[in-house]
Each structure stands twice: as C-alpha cells, then as structure tokens.
C-alpha cells in the first residue's frame, strides 16, 4: 500500500489534496464523500458582510476562467454558527480562510474565529489594503509582515499565508511571511487578468479585472511555488491549475507538501477524489511507497543521477532569470 499522508507542521493530512478557498462549499457534500479529502478549506470570510462584485462575474478562457466575485461574505457570526458545525461532522481537518482591510482587522477576525472545530487559519492576503490605496497586503513584504504578526498575536492556531501571485519576487514575500510566523504558505491566489468584448467594446467582467484560474496558470504558479519552496523552510502548498495527478506530482516535485484544487472542481465535482485515487496508482508506477518521496525530488540540471556526461555547458550571464526574459 502506498502511503498518501503528509504533515503540514503538526497537522497530519490523510492525503495532500484539499480544495482552494472559494471553490468549495457545503454543496460538494451532495456529490462526493467528504471524508476522502485531505482537508477542508472554507470560503474566505471578512469581518463585515459583503455582497461582492457586479455581474458578469465570470468569463471563460480556452483552458480556465477569469472570475471577479469580490468575496461575498456573511461575516464571522454566520461562519461560527453555520459553517464550522457543518464541517465538523466529517473527519478531515478544517481550515478557515480570512481577509480584512487592515492588519488589526485581520487579527481581530482571527481571534473571533479561533473556536473549537477550526484547525488552521488561512490568511488570504491578496485582498486590498485600505492604507495602500487598494494594493494587496501580499504585494509588499512590510504589509505581509504586519498582517501575519498581528494574526499570530491574536490566535494560537496554525496560520497559513496565502500569497498573491501578482508580485515580482515572490520568494521575498514568502520569507517575510515565514519570518513573521506563518506555519505554511499557500502559493498562490489568482493572477490578475482581463478580457474585452471586441464587438461591444465592453469589458467581459463587471469589475473589469478579475483573477485567472484553472489549468492555464499552472506553469506560472508552479514556478512561484518552486521559488517559495527554495526560499523558506516551512511547508508550501501549491495552488493553481491542479486538475490531474500529474499536476499534483509536478507541484510536489517542485517542493510542495500538498496542493489545493480550485476551478477543476467546477468542471468535475469529482476531480479531487479522482486525483486522490489516481495518485496512489501513479506512485506505485514510479515504485515509490510514500507520496512524501515526491517532495522536492525534481532533479536539478547538472545533478545527473546516472553520471552521464551532460551537453557542453553554455555561457550565460548572471545566475537568475527572475526577469522572465525568454
């Protein structure tokens, strides 16, 4: 038997597959056995009650979508009263996701929801910081530090920082989060994008810009997860375009300990359980007996296991490729 369990800090998951926040809700219980999933991640809640963005909220791409939902939220009381008890009927650990407009509000909200039945708090720091003219907390090291320090002061629960991919040097932000006490990182939220109807000249989203999700973003987010895993010692959870077993393997080879599945569940509500089943088969095929054998197991070029001579090396200038020149 292949061992699918992974540890995220002190938390043990039966398998490394969990939903992405906002792409999973109670409705899923009507389709699949929730006890099969590695962990539950709830939709982000905010301190205040919000309705979200104007319609249209979604536009399709060839292999993904752009969404601008705007985090509708019923607030913490509703969360504690309705959502937490619902998930506590099942065995997997339960992750709450929070967002707020200031570091203090983040801390306050986390204190409020640190109740029996919540196992982890995921801080969604992709939301606009009102003090920075709407720029997200996760776009600056200093703001990332502020939010996480404030949260760590107000709760004893493990805290995962969910980073935004709309940054330059994501390793830097990852380090700031680790230094401020984050217990794990989720890499990452959605990539900001837009689309315009060339017949009507109108934006395809009511909010003009939205977050791109689904398989199209995987190569970009995978690169970020790899950079973060190199930058920090805490576990990294990959999130972006996971739809197949191979996607999970790619993220784990790049250094992730687990993954979150988002948009794929819209297309196939059974995606997560299909992946969990398929993962065991894949590992068996690879002759591995634990999914943890994948973590960070990518062979770096030059590290040639078989000792074969590589092609003559080519002169390059500068080590990095952070600028993304081709």
């Amino acid at each position: 038997m292949v061992d699918l369990s992974v540890d995220i800090g002190a938390l043990k998951l039966a398998n490394p597959i969990m939903p992405g926040s906002g792409t999973f809700a109670e409705g899923m219980e009507q389709v699949v056995d929730l006890n099969c999933i590695g962990a539950f991640v709830a939709k982000t809640i905010t301190p205040e009650i919000r309705e979200g963005n104007p319609q249209p909220r979604v536009t399709e791409l060839k292999n993904g979508m752009i969404g601008s939902i705007g985090i509708p939220s019923k607030g913490p009381e509703h969360f504690i009263r309705e959502i937490v008890p619902f998930y506590n009927r099942f065995t997997p650990p339960f992750v709450a996701s929070v967002s707020a407009s200031s570091a203090e509000e983040f801390g306050e909200l986390c204190a409020q929801i640190s109740v029996e039945g919540v196992d982890v708090i995921e801080a969604n720091i992709s939301c606009p910081n009102l003090k920075r003219d709407g720029e997200a907390f996760g776009m600056r090291c200093a703001d990332t530090t502020d939010v996480l320090e404030e949260i760590k002061k107000r709760t004893d629960l493990p805290v995962w920082a969910k980073l935004t991919p709309n940054v330059g040097n994501i390793g830097e932000i990852a380090q700031a989060a680790e230094d401020a006490g984050a217990d794990a990182l989720v890499v990452a939220n959605a990539l900001l994008a837009m689309a315009i109807d060339t017949e009507t000249f109108r934006p395809k989203l009511g909010n003009v810009m939205g977050g791109i999700t689904g398989p199209v973003v995987k190569p970009i987010i995978l690169r970020m997860a790899y950079q973060c895993a190199k930058a920090v010692d805490i576990p990294v959870i990959g999130c972006g375009g996971v739809a197949t077993v191979a996607d999970v393997a790619e993220y784990m080879l790049a250094g992730c300990t687990a993954v979150q599945v988002g948009t794929a569940s819209f297309v196939h509500p059974t995606a997560m359980i299909n992946i969990i089943d398929g993962l065991a088969d894949y590992l068996e095929g690879q002759g591995l007996n634990s999914v943890t054998n994948l973590i960070g197991a990518m062979v770096e070029p030059g590290n040639n296991a078989e000792g074969v001579v590589e092609a003559p090396s080519i002169r390059t200038v500068g080590g990095g490729n952070e600028g993304g020149g081709v």
Binding site: D33, R57, V58, P72, G214, H268
Partner: protein
C-alpha cells in the same frame, strides 16, 4: 451508463474511475449518460434524450443538469452549461433536454450522436414548488423557457391540478411541445410575434388580457413563468393585483452549479424591499415571482 469515467465524446479527462460505492448514496452524481436519441426540432432547437441512473431520475421540474460540452481532451468550452430537465421518463430510465443552439457549448452539444456519452452533473437546484396545493396553475413560457416549464404540467396532472399554458414565441415554427403539454392535460394557447400567422398576438398587453381572463375563469392559484423579462414583470403586477402567488425560473451564467463559486448571483428583494443577492444554481433557479427585481 457509468457514473464516472469514460472518455468517449463529451466526457471528462478522468484518469481513474473512483470506487463508486461510497458515492452511491449521494443525491447528485457526475455521470456519463449514453445518448438514446437526439433530433433537431427546427433550425435552432434540439431535443436530447439520454439514459440516466436512478438517482438522476429523481429530478424535479425546474431542476437542471450541468452538462460538459466538450470533445474528450478538448479544453474548450472550459465550463459546463446548465440545462433544465425537459422531461423525465422514469419507466424507461431516461432524461430529456430541449435546448437552443446559441453558442460554442450548445454547438458542440448538438454534435452528440446516439451511443455517445454525455457527461452530466445533477440533478441540481431548487425546482418548482406545488406544496401550496393550488387547484389550477397557469404556465407562461416564452421561447426556450418552455423547456423549463413543460415538466411542471405533467407534475401538476399527477397531483390533479388543472393547467393552462400560454406559449409565446417569435414565430410559429418555434412553438414546440404543444402536443407534449396537451398529453399532460394542459389547455394550451399559442401566441407569436408574427401578425400574419394563425396564432394569437404575443404583445404583452394581449397576453395580460389572456392571463387575467384565465385566472378569473379557472381560479388560478399559482403562476409559473420562464423565458421573458417583460412577461415576468407583467405577471408580477397581475399577481399582486389578483393576490395570486407566482414562481419564476431564472437564468444566470454559472461556474460550479453547486453553490460554491458565487458566479451566478442575481439581485432579489425581500418582503420589506431590501435587496440581497442569491445564487441561481442553489437558491434557485426557481424563485418567488414577487421577490425578483427589475434589471
């Protein structure tokens, strides 16, 4: 039919069919339904009949299935398309859809041939509610809204409720299902936008007259409508005046179909006039007529 997996035609990129035992008790399935029949009714509308497992046959009028409209490995369209249940044949184990080919998804759907597999998730949403036990209901459908209302006539007949149906369409060649409704003992009136044909006039004023006439004559206890914003507004007004409650099936673009993504919200008003946003996929698609707002 299989409940998961398979790669033929409109199926998904499943690599492994999960052990379906654990899910058998779940009310909603992701399943591959073999196509039994698929016919053009006219230039725009197609009638699709698929075989479905028992739990899918529990679908109620107004509920819908979320259909994957792609060829096997294709990436587009990425999201599913919602389609109302047009008819459930529990004896034969079949579900029927009536749909209009309008864009990429329905165009690909239209290519399904008998024997192909349709990947469907459902049944989804809240259907029509006859629990108020009206003695008579009046159905008012415009265009493809008919697909959604038609099964309600049959459900009403089963409960001994009288049914009148007014079908409105652009022209007479898209007035479908008149026979199916009449089999369900509905009294059917047809109106079109075409002044030259033999049907009635579809002008909202004219239809309002008919509605008032039928409601008075038959003692209508419930209005049900789908497919036209103007008819919805008219019916809301008449409903208030005559004290007749109503239900409407609404549409909105969807992401998940399961209440998870909040892509499909629409504004509603409660009894004191406060606006809130509800999800068409799980709070609806059938809503109280008086709680809708103009847009």
């Amino acid at each position: 039919m299989r409940e998961i997996g398979g790669t033929r035609n409109i199926s998904g990129p499943f690599q492994h069919a999960p052990d379906s035992d654990s899910e058998c008790l779940k009310p909603i399935a992701e399943m591959i339904c073999p196509v039994f029949d698929h016919q053009w009714l006219n230039d725009d509308y197609k009638h699709l009949v698929v075989e479905a497992p028992v739990r899918a046959l529990a679908a109620q009028p107004g509920q819908f299935f979320h259909l994957l409209c792609r060829e096997s490995d294709d990436v587009a369209p990425y999201l599913r398309r919602p389609m109302s249940v047009y008819r459930i044949d529990r004896d034969q184990g079949r579900i029927e859809f009536l749909y209009k080919v309008v864009g990429e998804g329905t165009r690909i759907l239209a290519e399904l041939k008998p024997g192909d597999g349709l990947n469907a998730v459902g049944p989804l949403g809240r259907g029509f509610d006859l629990s108020s036990k009206p003695e008579h209901i009046l159905l008012l459908a415009r265009g493809v809204g008919l697909a959604t209302l038609a099964p309600l006539a049959e459900a009403a007949r089963e409960r001994g409720i009288g049914v009148d149906a007014i079908l409105s369409a652009r022209s007479s060649d898209v007035l479908m299902s008149v026979d199916y409704l009449r089999q369900s003992s509905a009294i059917v009136t047809t109106v079109t936008d075409d002044p030259d044909d033999t049907h009635g006039d579809s002008g909202v004023d004219k239809v309002e007259e008919m509605v008032r006439h039928i409601a008075k004559e038959k003692g209508t206890g419930l209005f049900a409508t789908c497919g036209s914003n103007r008819l919805l507004q008219m019916l809301r007004k008449v409903g208030v005046e005559l004290g007749i409650s109503g239900q409407v099936a609404l549409e909105q673009q969807m992401g998940c179909g399961l209440g998870m993504c909040y892509c499909c919200v629409r504004p509603f008003q409660n009894t004191v006039g406060e606006i809130d946003y509800r999800r068409v996929c799980i709070d609806g698609p059938v809503f109280d007529l008086q709680e809708t707002v103009s847009w």
